[in-house]
Amino acid sequence: QTAVDVPFFYPVNVGGPINKLIDAYAEDFGRAHAGTQIKPIYSGNYQETLVKALTGFKSGTPPVTAVLLSTDMFTLIDEEAIVPFDEFIKTDEDRAWLRSFYPAFLKNSQTDGKTWGIPFQRSTVVIYWNKELFKEAGLDPERGPANWQELREYAQKLTKKDANGNVTTWGVQIPSSGFPYWLFQTLTTPNDVILANDKGTAVNLDDPKAIEALEYWVGLAKDGLHPAGVVEWGTTPKDFFEKKAAIVVTTTGNLTNIRNNAGFEFGVGPIPGHRLKGGSPTGGGNFYIFKKTSPEQQQAAFEFIRWITTPERAAQWSIDTGYAATSQAAYDTPALKKYGEEFPPALVARDQLPISVAEFSTFDNQRVTKVLDDALQAALTGKKTPAQALQDAQQEATRLLRPYQ
């Protein structure tokens, strides 16, 4: 039997230790499956990994499998770069395995009745708050804001100014650089509006509820409770550590970082609700299997993916990295249960998952996303009113999506 090599593009994204974990998995798998060799290739962040994978694909040398953003699904389908998993899912066991993932995560992995990606390193957005500042402001440090109303009130109490009227601590901070659409979804989801259809062919950006959500966000900044302009994603945790922001909205992926570096007690809670009780977009990466590779390789990749997403491994992965586990079964493993008891914030993601939605994603994804991002930034920087911005974006996005309808 000839050995099967499975090049595996993996976005190193959370720093060094993770590639050691991945290497270990690859090795373990190789030991258990003689003749198959998983070759992890660390290829920068998500965007760079996609560039590498697609450039490779176009030149005839794609990876066999890769972890790429769940939102890249439509792009990859459009490029005809990936094969659906349905071909490999033959047994009932396989079907049960597929059903075990949280539906919120699968929303970004399935379209047109086919499964194109398998959730792996997934996250959602949560809020973090500084308990010390809560105490100083006379708020209950153990309870985060539950809805928009409370968020605004809390923020008012938490915002501090110096003698000159310069703000020294913002009440709340929602970053808006890089991928503002994702954080925007933390406002639209509780407001009961879904921005894109399942097929990825239509968007709903100018929905009054979406406009309302944006108005709320812009209003926070206008009222001096939230920094003006575009807020940098990369510095948001630091802003939190430096007590420049009392409440920050960011990914569960930041949990470990904040736990290690915050010099104070902090709370983690679900996204505040409005029309609905709450709700957040999911995010993060899925496994994909690429075309232009041999059937043996694809089969081997599939087995690897099945193997690595078993509840035990998913649980350990979640503990090691801070990512959300992808199935209820994983949260039910003793290891993760115990971890959840020791460190309850780790469970916030799980609790929020049932009401979570897919990350905004369409065909011609990046271009449509950029239209939305630009609109959001235009509104946040005061160049357009929220309504105007979103209406323009709706128009432009619709135009872009026309070929896919």
């Binding site: 060094g16 962040n45 590498k52 176009k58 040398t61 630091k238 430096e242 570096n261």
Partner: protein, 286 residues
């Protein structure tokens, strides 16, 4: 450039002090600007040697630590990346110098049909840099079956229009008599190149080397795309590990990593500062 002809006036070595001597204002302004200029470096040094919580707080009593360097070092196989980068830089520079020398020599010394057209084609690369043609070049590299090798990172840069241009200028400035003298002595065309042109253009080689090394030491996108494995990754690609999207920026580690990766170049410049300046000086890029 034409060192032999420079019967430099004795006054050339004499600093005319007192004339337009920089005043106190100049000195102050120059120092202010210089401080401003290395502020990022100073900041990097500060954060690299202190625990992360002091990244934004400047407190003289902050404890010193090497932990950031340790963390940075462990975040990626930097030893290997150093090796790769060094190999890459040396290889690219070496090949660039050889190819550019040959080409510049052909341009400077021979009259042949198509010379001007060929030279114009070379100059095109001055403006149309390989960075613009990433996709096409990646396809070429794939077709050649070279993906994921240090060689592939360097290949598109092996012919440098800048080097050819500079060397051609220098070669044309070499006094004709030197070449005649060598011919009378029986030197062949290749010997003339190696024994006369090349040594005389040394300052240009050094100057170009500086530009090339700092460019390839820091080049990012292309190495990222053509490399897959630790065996061929370069330092900047390794550095990318730290600009995480998921987590915020950890300045302490990034600073440590920045210092670590640019230390060889900085040290090099510090040690050879005088030579560099003098080389450029004699290179007289004008």
């Amino acid at each position: 450039m034409n060192a032999p002809a420079s019967r430099a006036a004795p006054a050339a070595t004499r600093p005319s002090r007192g004339l337009y001597a920089p005043g106190r204002l100049d000195t102050t302004a120059a120092w202010l600007l210089a401080l401003l200029w290395i502020l990022p470096l100073l900041f990097a040094v500060w954060t690299a040697f202190h625990p992360p919580e002091y990244a934004a707080r400047f407190d003289w009593r902050a404890p010193l630590t090497l932990q950031n360097f340790r963390d940075a070092w462990q975040a990626a196989p930097f030893a290997r990346y150093f090796l790769n980068t060094t190999l890459l830089v040396i290889m690219v520079l070496a090949v660039q110098l050889v190819l550019s020398t040959l080409a510049a020599y052909a341009f400077a010394r021979f009259a042949f049909p198509g010379r001007d057209l060929a030279f114009a084609l070379v100059l095109v690369q001055l403006t149309v840099m390989p960075d613009l043609l990433l996709v096409e070049n990646y396809q070429t590299i794939t077709r050649l079956g070279l993906v994921d090798s240090i060689f592939a990172i360097g290949l598109p840069y092996f012919a440098s229009a800048l080097a050819i241009f500079l060397l051609r200028q220098t070669f044309m400035g070499v006094p004709k008599e030197l070449v005649d003298a060598a011919r009378v002595e029986g030197a062949s065309a290749l010997q003339i190149l190696l024994r006369i042109y090349v040594p005389l253009a040394r300052p240009i080689y050094v100057a170009f080397g500086l530009v090339s090394v700092s460019y390839h030491w820091n080049n990012f996108l292309w190495p990222l795309i053509v490399t897959n494995s630790v065996q061929s990754r370069t330092l900047t690609v390794g550095l990318q590990v730290f600009s995480s999207v998921e987590q915020g920026v950890d300045w302490a580690i990034i600073s440590a990593a920045t210092l670590m990766t640019s230390a060889p170049l900085l040290l090099g410049f510090l040690l050879f500062q005088r030579q560099f300046v003098q080389s450029f000086m004699r290179a007289g890029i004008k």
